[in-house]
Every structure is written in structure tokens, then in C-alpha cells.
Amino acid sequence: MKIGASSPGGSLPDKRCGPTSASAGNNPAEAVSSLATQKGQDRPEAELERLAKSLRRHIITMIGTAGSGHTGGCLSAVEVLVALYFKIMRHRPQDPRWPERDRFILSKGHAAPALYATLAEAGYFPVAELPTLRKMDSRLQGHTDRTITPGVEMSAGSLGQGLSFSIGVALAGRLDSKDYRVYVLLGDGECDEGQVWEAAISAAHFKLDNLTAIVDHNKQQLDGWCSDIMNLEPLAEKWRAFGWQAIEVDGHSIPQILSAAEQARATKGKPTVIIAHTIKGKGVSFMENNLEFHGRAPNAEELAQALKELE
């Protein structure tokens, strides 16, 4: 299962991935806050934007090649993933189960392609592997599978379960006096699931300030706009009433995501949720807010068109 560190397809040098770099290394003092330690090696915002664009290209190419998959909800989550994997989290692509790593749990498992593209760019496995998505014997399953994909923490695909899992990981961190942080990404439609609210109550009860949830608030679920299918608003108020700090950001603004993560880290005694206002299908004109692309792949023509937009 161990794979080469640098991916052939243009991944960033792995020292940029937080404390795996020489400067952050194993020094616990430096490892405490990856946000802090990375201050010095900040890459220009433009580079992150380029990275986001490249993730989007991977995503639509993978899904287009596979012929099925959830395009819209992958594209809306890109900036969140870029911010987490290339700025916020400390992690070691060559050592995916490094015990001190910050954890990212993808609760909205149908956005697996977005996570795979991110992991590949970060160096967990070769970018060349991405086109195997959804193919027989691929490590890149239609929905995440923790047993075969390096860097994937949880098997998902049945929605509503990731926050509970994350609480378990956060509790374990506390029990073992580890200072890793746990990030979990949920869909907004996913917040219909009762288990999310069972979990929300308990995370607040346990005062899990090492846990940050992010809701990809793209306003759509499978059958339509959330406001038509099952109105979630006021979403931030719900989380606050459940004992969480809630921060609303533009989910396509990496600086806003970073500052919310910093605020989450600084907040003691309660978990934080970042409500990331996003656009489903973001980045490709004819996919944006287009319900059809929730669960459908672009055909060859659409793919070509989309890639052109993402040049």
C-alpha cells in the first residue's frame, strides 16, 4: 500500500504540506499549530488558486472518465480542501497514519473525487492514479473506503455519519493527550440526517474544542434546492443552539476559511462549525447551481468545454 512520495502529475513538493517539511519536522513545539508554523512558508495566494483550479480539472476529468459521479458537490468543496490540506492541517503524505497528524474526515462521501484529487496533489498517491476512479480494483472507490486508500480516514457514502466518527477521533486525541485537530466536512443536505444532530449535541457536551466541522453550504441537495426540499435555515442558529461556535464564510475564499480555522483553534471549551457558503458546481459555468450535475458526469463534449473554462 505504500507508494512513492512525489506524484508524477505535478504535485507540490511535500515540504509544503505542513510539518513534514524540514522546518516543521518532528519538533513538537513547532508542530503545535500548523497554521502558525506555516506562516513563514506561506505560498502566494495565487498559487493556491492555481491549485484549486487544478483540483477542479482533476475532478471533472476523473468523473468524466468514470462516466458517473457527483460533480457538483465536489466542485463546491475545492477551496475548503485546498485550505485544509495545503495550509491548515499538519500531515505527512508519506506516512498517512502518522499518529500526530491532524485528521480530515469526509462525511459527504460522494465528494470522494475531490478528496482523491487533493490527496494526490498532496502526494499521498500518484496523480496518475486518479483516472482509475470507480473502476474495478481501483483504490479510488466511488465513495471513500478507509481500508484501501492512503489518506482516507473513514468509509463513507451513506450520509450523516462522519461527525460521530470525528467525535470518536477527537475523544481519542484527548484521552491520549495528543494535540491533533479533527476536521470534518458535511453537506448541507446531509444536515437533514438526525445523526448529525445527535453528534452535534454530544460534541458540545464533551466540549470538543479540537473538533471543527465544515458545512459545504451549497444550498442544494439531490432532489433540488434545500429551501424547497427541506429548509435548513437558519443553519448557523441551529448549530449555535446546539452549543457550537458557528462562523459563516465565503467557502470559495481561502483567506476567509483560514481565518475561521484560526478562530476555531483559538476557541476553547466548544467545537466550531464553519458554514462555508458555496456554489454547487463552482468553477464551470454550466454546472454552477445546475441540479443536473449533482449526480451526473459530464459527457465528452461537456468535459472539453469545462476544461477550457478551467484553463
Binding site: R134, M136, S138, S158
Partner: protein, 324 residues
């Protein structure tokens, strides 16, 4: 057998017909109406259609409340969510009070394909058969699905109907009449009986055909669309007359058709059996046909099963004739 239609398309179409005839029908879905095809009803009768978002437990409870108030309720989502995600709700709110709710679940089995294990319902039939009060149906094709859905609408009480994602061959002729609780003999035969359901029926017919052509083994083929209650009569007749049974289902070995048939056979007429079913493992992403092959659900697998039971039956006969 040229025509193909998915059983879920038959569902959407039939729902609309039922809704036209019966204003008492209410349809629910859990944010999968565009996949299960319940949306066809929703477009036609928006006031009697409720999409509950991603909340399967809530859907079942609401279905129960509507049924307790006199409605005939259809509730749909993917088979894995319809059974596994809300089992206690099905048990408490629908099965025990025997309320008039029809769970019509699309995307049964592994022919769901590329979505992977989270979306493969491989245990749903067993789970639903564990609910006293429920009638459980796995239609063979779109023709039978439409009729089973009508039968469920016409009868009081809880039903589970398992549909499939892909288009599948239409096997029954237009004149076919589905009878609840009855097996259907698709092919006569004396050497062994294949009892198949759902997408396995076409493969069973193919296996029987090839066994006859190549090896001269004469297989009876039954479908048993009503998995609960079983047509015990047909099973025991098959056991008596053919002396060997192979079951074939797109489901775990545990708790499904095969395990139910084995209990009937062992209780009355023990004969050699083989079970074509998914072994104790979750599947992965892949094309439906690839997954069927990996999971041992092909015509060849059925043929192997038949060869095995026919051999064991022959040994048993020889033993009988020879004495000890």
C-alpha cells in the same frame, strides 16, 4: 427477451396510474425521488407527494402516521437506506402495527455498480423478512414489478418491494399475471430446480439452457417473486420431483431466499442444495457485470451449483440403491 426496462421505471409509471385512480395514495421519498422515479408521481400530484430530504427514519415515521390516518402510503429510497437506515422505525411504526405502508426500494443489490459498497444493498431482503407483518417481493422484471406494485396497493398492510437500478430484460409476456405468494415455473425440468429472483432469473434461464444443451441436465426454473411468504408448496414439489435445489439471488447468503428455502426443505423434504449468493463480504466499485462475476453471481456459477447438487443427488441415490 429483447426489450429492456428497469423495474424502477415501471415503478414511476405505475405510481402515476395508481395515483390517478386513487386519491388516497400518498408518496414519500428521502431526497432520491429523481433516482427512485417517485418524482413522476410528485410532478403529477404535488400535494400528495412529500420529499423529506435525507431523513429516512423520519420518512418511515411519517409514513406510519399517514397510514394510521387512512392513507395508502408508498415510501421510496435506495434499498440499503430503506432497510438498514431505519430498521427500528420499520419495526416499531409499521411492522408491528401492520400499517398500510409500501416500501418500494430501488437500487437493490450490487448491480448498482460504481457507487460502491455503501450503496450496495446486499442484506435488505433478509432484514425485511425479519419484520413480522411484512410481505417481501423481489420482482423479476418491469412487467412483474408493475403488477406487484398494484397488488401491494390493493392489499392492506406493509410491503417491501425491491427494485433494481439497471435496465434488465423483460422476461414475462404481456399477458403474464403476477399472483402474490406464488412461484412461477419458467421452465419445466426433472434433474434439479433452480429457484431465482430478481436479476438472477435471466441468468438462471441461461444456465438451464446451457446445461441442457451441453450436458443434458434438465433443470426446472422457478422464480419466487414473493420471498415472504414463501410458496412452500412449489418448493416442496420441486424437492420431491427434482430432488435437488439451487437458489440464486443478488443478496448475501445470510438471511435471503436461499436461507429461507433451506429451512422449508430441511423441515419437510431434505435434498441437496446449493446457494448462489454473495459470500460474507462487501463488494466494491465496478461495472455491474464485473461485480456479479466477482461475487459469484453468473450463469456459470449457477451451472456449477447445479452440477454439484446433481452429483450429490446421484451419490445419494446410489447409496440408497446399494444399501449400506
Amino acid at each position: 427477451m429483447a426489450r429492456e426496462e428497469s423495474t424502477r421505471e415501471a415503478y414511476g409509471r405505475t405510481l402515476v396510474e395508481l395515483g390517478e385512480a386513487n386519491p388516497n395514495i400518498v408518496v414519500l421519498d428521502a431526497d432520491l425521488a429523481r433516482s427512485t422515479q417517485s418524482q413522476m408521481f410528485g410532478h403529477k400530484f404535488p400535494s400528495r407527494f412529500f420529499d423529506l430530504g435525507l431523513a429516512e427514519q423520519n420518512m418511515i415515521g411519517i409514513a406510519a402516521g399517514l397510514a394510521a390516518s387512512g392513507k395508502t402510503v408508498f415510501a421510496s429510497t435506495f434499498a440499503v437506506f430503506a432497510s438498514a437506515r431505519c430498521f427500528d422505525q420499520l419495526r416499531m411504526s409499521i411492522a408491528q402495527p401492520r400499517l398500510n405502508v409500501k416500501i418500494v426500494a430501488s437500487h437493490g443489490g450490487i448491480t448498482v455498480g460504481e457507487d460502491g459498497f455503501s450503496h450496495h444493498a446486499i442484506e435488505d431482503v433478509g432484514l425485511m423478512c425479519s419484520l413480522p407483518g411484512f410481505t417481501v417481493i423481489v420482482p423479476t422484471d418491469a412487467v412483474e414489478a408493475a403488477q406487484a406494485i398494484r397488488a401491494a396497493a390493493a392489499l392492506l398492510g406493509p410491503f417491501y418491494i425491491r427494485l433494481s437500478r439497471p435496465k434488465t430484460p423483460v422476461i414475462h409476456e404481456d399477458g403474464y399475471r403476477f399472483v402474490l405468494g406464488k412461484a412461477v415455473t419458467l421452465r419445466p425440468g426433472r434433474d434439479a430446480t433452480i429457484i431465482a429472483i430478481g436479476v438472477m432469473v435471466a441468468l438462471a434461464l441461461e444456465a438451464a439452457h446451457r446445461l441442457r444443451e451441453i450436458e443434458g441436465i434438465d433443470c426446472r426454473v422457478l422464480t419466487m417473486p414473493t420471498v415472504k411468504p414463501l410458496d412452500e408448496e412449489a418448493i416442496l414439489q420441486a424437492a420431491r420431483e427434482t430432488g435437488a435445489i439451487v437458489t440464486a439471488e443478488e443478496h448475501l447468503l445470510q438471511g435471503g431466499l436461499g436461507s429461507r428455502v433451506a429451512q422449508v426443505v430441511s423441515s419437510h423434504q431434505p435434498v441437496p442444495m446449493a446457494f448462489i449468493a454473495i459470500k460474507d463480504v462487501y463488494s466494491r466499485s465496478g461495472k455491474p457485470a464485473q461485480l456479479m462475476e466477482r461475487c459469484g453471481l453468473t450463469a456459470e456459477d449457477i451451472m456449477d451449483g447445479v452440477r454439484g447438487v446433481v452429483l450429490r443427488k446421484a451419490r445419494q441415490m446410489a447409496f440408497r440403491l446399494g444399501g449400506r
